[in-house]
């Protein structure tokens, strides 16, 4: 999939880039804006695999432009090998993450929100540039993303009680049902809502105890990368979240067909790719979390709490285990 905006011509690149970067990093630069001699230090946007920040092994990149067509960055164009590396990292991290006590898991995730709070201005600038929102609207989106993360983090030590059960079987047995994490979950992040949509789909499988391989929005990947910098400095163990940027047409089929991926969130899969992706996922009976075909991705209202704060979204990445034991001497 090509980037939406035309590649800027060579002569205008530096000027337009300068404008976009100024918007994207307004907060950091404000202190030194008065000094015209200062040359901005730009960030390299990299992948996040196994707690490290590698470039794609393929050495490829693609242009990321803002909503107004200005150049924002060269993002990594991850390869199928990067997908496999990310899945391996996730599989390695899964047992430790799933084994954390519910309360610890909740606190670890809550800390992510604490660190996001400290980067509000950076996230707002990125959302503003990527989604073409006014500054106030971008800030509202960031605030909601942080609050949503807190909402989901709080489920860590409650979902087992809400979804589990003790079952009154008609025989002398003690019988109970408990939810457990599914395993390695692939998440195809929403394409339009670069941070709030991302958080709304990433937090549910995480709080359920899964390890995640996430493919960021193709056109608007930068806040996903910034979120990985938050995750890297939080207490979320390396490998629990792995983030790839690149072309969904290249990456999603590889993730969907990967036999060590147990579940797939296809929310951010384009309508025309959906049947292909779900057919690949059927080959090893992956669990699917699907956007209803009646919901247009670009028009979904991520600010609607009732539509996006749902325990069912967590349950989609849980397995119910039922245990029987006889009663009696």
């Amino acid at each position: 999939m090509a980037t939406r905006a035309r590649k800027p011509s060579a002569s205008s690149t530096s000027a337009r880039t300068g404008t976009a970067r100024a918007a994207a990093t307004r907060a950091q630069n404000s202190a030194v804006a008065a000094s015209p001699a200062r040359v901005e230090v730009r960030k390299t946007y990299k992948l996040y695999i196994g707690g490290a920040f590698p470039r794609t092994e393929s050495g490829r990149s693609y242009l990321v432009v803002g909503d107004d067509g200005t150049l924002l960055a060269n993002a990594c164009r991850a390869s199928r090998k990067d997908v496999r590396d990310a899945v391996r990292a996730a599989r390695g991290a899964f047992p430790g993450w799933a084994a954390k006590t519910a309360m610890t898991g909740g606190q670890v995730l809550y800390r992510v929100a604490e660190l996001m709070e400290g980067r509000r201005e950076q996230f707002a600038a990125e959302v503003e540039a990527a989604e073409g929102l006014r500054p106030a609207a971008a800030r509202a989106v960031v605030d909601r993303a942080i609050d949503r993360w807190v909402w989901y983090a709080g489920w860590a030590d409650k979902i087992g009680q809400v979804l589990g059960s003790s079952n009154p079987v008609a025989a002398p047995y003690f019988n109970f049902t408990i939810p457990e994490a599914t395993g390695v979950v692939g998440v195809v992040a929403p394409e339009t809502s670069s941070l709030l949509g991302l958080v709304s789909r990433l937090a549910p499988p995480l709080v359920a105890g899964n390890a995640v391989v996430l493919i960021a929005s193709e056109k608007r990947p930068l806040s996903a990368v910034t979120l990985t910098e938050v995750l890297a400095t939080s207490d979320v163990p390396g490998g629990v979240v792995n983030v790839l940027t690149g072309f969904k047409k290249e990456l999603v089929p590889v993730l969907a067909a990967h036999e060590d991926v147990d579940a797939l969130d296809t929310w951010g899969v384009a309508d025309e790719m959906r049947t292909e992706v779900e057919t690949l996922a059927a080959e090893d009976i992956k669990r699917l979390a699907r956007r209803p075909t009646t919901v247009a991705e670009a028009r979904f209202d991520w600010l609607d709490d009732a539509a996006t704060e749902r325990p069912e979204w967590i349950a989609a990445f849980l397995e119910m285990k039922t245990v029987w034991h006889p009663i009696g001497g």
Binding site: L163, S165, N167, P168, V169, A170, A171, Y173, F174, N175, T177, T182, D262, R274, T275, E278, T279, A281, A282, E283, D284, I285, R287, R290, P292, T293, T294, A306, A307, R310, E312, A315, E319, M320, K321, T322, V323, W324, H325, P326, I327, G328, G329
Partner: protein, 510 residues
């Protein structure tokens, strides 16, 4: 939990004569006595020569008049000719279900739906022996199992979900549960009536209507169930039953007016069905194959474990998706355990499914018998050691001796593939970690068994099993309140319990 007692089961061995050494068995000899026949009368059930499809409350022939025979696998006799539905018939059934969902069932208050389901449960209880005999004749399963397990559990499922029909707001607090619409349900031949109940009861409780396709070798109990729907005055079209080959199942799966697909059967077909709904909004639940490990630790009460192992793999001829087909025995007890198992195997009675003393009946079909035979041959060819008790098999019908393999490697086909027959593969382990590793070393994840006297070990092992149902010091127990379903390639979604409702509703905001 450590001191909890284990299962007890009535032994076939006379009291006071339970010492294996006193029989001199364990070396393939038959029991040194004979049983008198104890046949269940088949007069209670009237099998019609021909059955039609059940569409819109009416008994109709297939649109092209086609039929197929259903056979008693214990005698190879044709029991009846059954309508062979065409895709046009499947379409008619979906339309009938849609009409009923819109006009009657979907708008009926939960309280009223509940009473219909209670009626169905009661009628199943009232006609239980009729269903049991019919089920045993059509499937080959022993009458004591159809009578004591299949039919009572089927009735219990309707009873349980009846009560949910007017209480859905308590199953999904803070949400409104809306029925999905029309459910296409495809069920296997191993527990035809019970699987029908697992599928239809929660669907109807939640306000859906259904089109059910029974397996082509076992359509009769579903067609008798059509008569139960008539007796219950269930509105026409709420339950529709189409009989026919697998293509009719796929016609239902891919039908554009179906909202929900529920399938129980093989993983291979499950994958095809998942592909059939790819790209749609159809709900899907799959209950697929298994290769369960039954893990016996050295502190387990061995006699009780032996009963659990036997129940785990020879119940319903081993034609059970959650069968304990891999015995994992701790090395220090493997020899006495195998000796006891062999002794116990020699007392298993294989034969006429309608004999009340039969433990293992007929394999459901010729093709299934061939599959079992082929896999057992592969076990021998790959170097495992086979044991079968000496028992006479009937001259006619599809029978297979209870089989035990020792010296099995994890790489053997009999340790990896679902055999769906009375064949147990014995593997060994030394440490709990090794047991976990081997138990989970499969693409399946439906069930697991753990035998030990140590409570903390039970809970730890239960936690580490990647399987949807864990039986500790018991095996193959089922209950309508108890969610059932798999991890990994054993499928997804749960049937039974509150969780079983989830697959049949869409949750909306209040």
């Amino acid at each position: 939990m450590a001191s909890m007692a284990t299962d007890t089961k009535t032994s076939l061995v006379p009291a006071g004569d339970r010492s294996p050494s006193s029989w001199g068995l364990g070396d393939g000899q038959a029991v040194p006595w004979e049983y008198a026949p104890a046949p269940e009368s088949r007069d209670i059930v009237t099998i019609k020569p021909r059955y039609g499809l059940f569409i819109g409350g009416r008994d109709v022939a297939a649109s092209d008049g086609g039929t197929f025979a259903t056979v008693n696998p214990a005698t190879e006799e044709t029991l009846a000719l059954v309508a062979k539905a065409t895709p046009a018939d499947a379409d008619k059934a979906v339309h009938a279900a849609r009409r009923a969902q819109k006009r009657s069932w979907g708008t009926l208050p939960g309280k009223e739906r509940a009473k219909y389901l209670f009626r169905i449960a009661r009628i199943l209880q009232e006609r239980s022996r009729e269903f049991a005999v019919l089920e045993s004749m059509d499937t080959g399963k022993p009458i004591k199992e159809s009578r004591d397990v299949d039919v009572p559990l089927a009735a219990a499922h309707f009873w349980y979900y009846a009560g949910w029909a007017d209480k859905l707001e308590y199953a999904f607090p803070g949400r409104v549960a809306v029925p999905l619409g029309v459910a296409a349900q495809i069920i296997p031949w191993n527990f035809p009536l019970l699987m029908l109940a697992w599928k239809i009861a929660p669907a109807l409780a939640a306000g859906n209507t259904v089109v059910l396709k029974p397996a082509s070798t076992t359509p009769l109990s579903a067609l008798l169930f059509a008569d139960v729907c008539r007796q219950a005055d269930l509105p026409p079209g709420v339950v529709n039953i189409v009989t026919g080959p697998g293509e009719i199942g796929m016609a239902l799966v891919t039908h554009p007016d179906v909202n929900k697909v529920a399938f129980t059967g093989s993983t291979e077909i499950g994958k095809r069905i998942a592909k059939g709904v790819a790209g749609t909004d159809k709900g899907l639940t799959l209950e697929l194959g298994g290769k369960a490990a039954n893990i016996v630790f050295d502190d387990a009460p061995l006699d009780q474990a032996v009963e659990g192992i036997v129940n785990g793999i020879y119940f319903n001829q081993g034609e059970v998706c959650c069968a304990g087909s891999r015995l994992l025995a701790q090395e220090s007890i493997v020899e006495p355990l195998i000796d006891k198992l062999k002794d116990r195997l020699s007392t298993i009675r294989v034969g006429d499914p309608l004999d009340k003393n039969t433990d293992v009946g007929a394999i459901n079909s010729k093709s299934q018998l061939e599959k079992i035979t082929e896999l057992v041959a592969s076990g021998v060819a790959e170097g495992a050691e086979m044991y079968q008790p000496a028992c006479d098999l009937p001259d006619r019908g599809y029978f297979f001796r209870p089989t035990l393999f020792t010296n099995v490697a994890q790489s053997h086909r009999i340790a990896r593939e679902e055999i769906f027959g009375p064949v147990l593969s014995v593997l060994t382990f030394r440490t709990p970690d090794e047991a976990v590793e081997k138990a989970n070393n499969t693409v399946y994840g439906l069930s697991a068994g753990i035998w030990t006297d140590k409570g903390s070990r039970i809970l730890e092992m239960a936690q580490r099993m990647r399987a949807g149902v864990v039986w500790a010091n018991t095996f193959n127990k089922f209950d309508p309140t108890s969610p059932f379903g798999g991890y990994k390639e054993s499928g997804f979604g749960r049937e039974g319990g509150m969780h079983g409702l989830h697959a049949y509703v869409r949750l909306e905001d209040r």
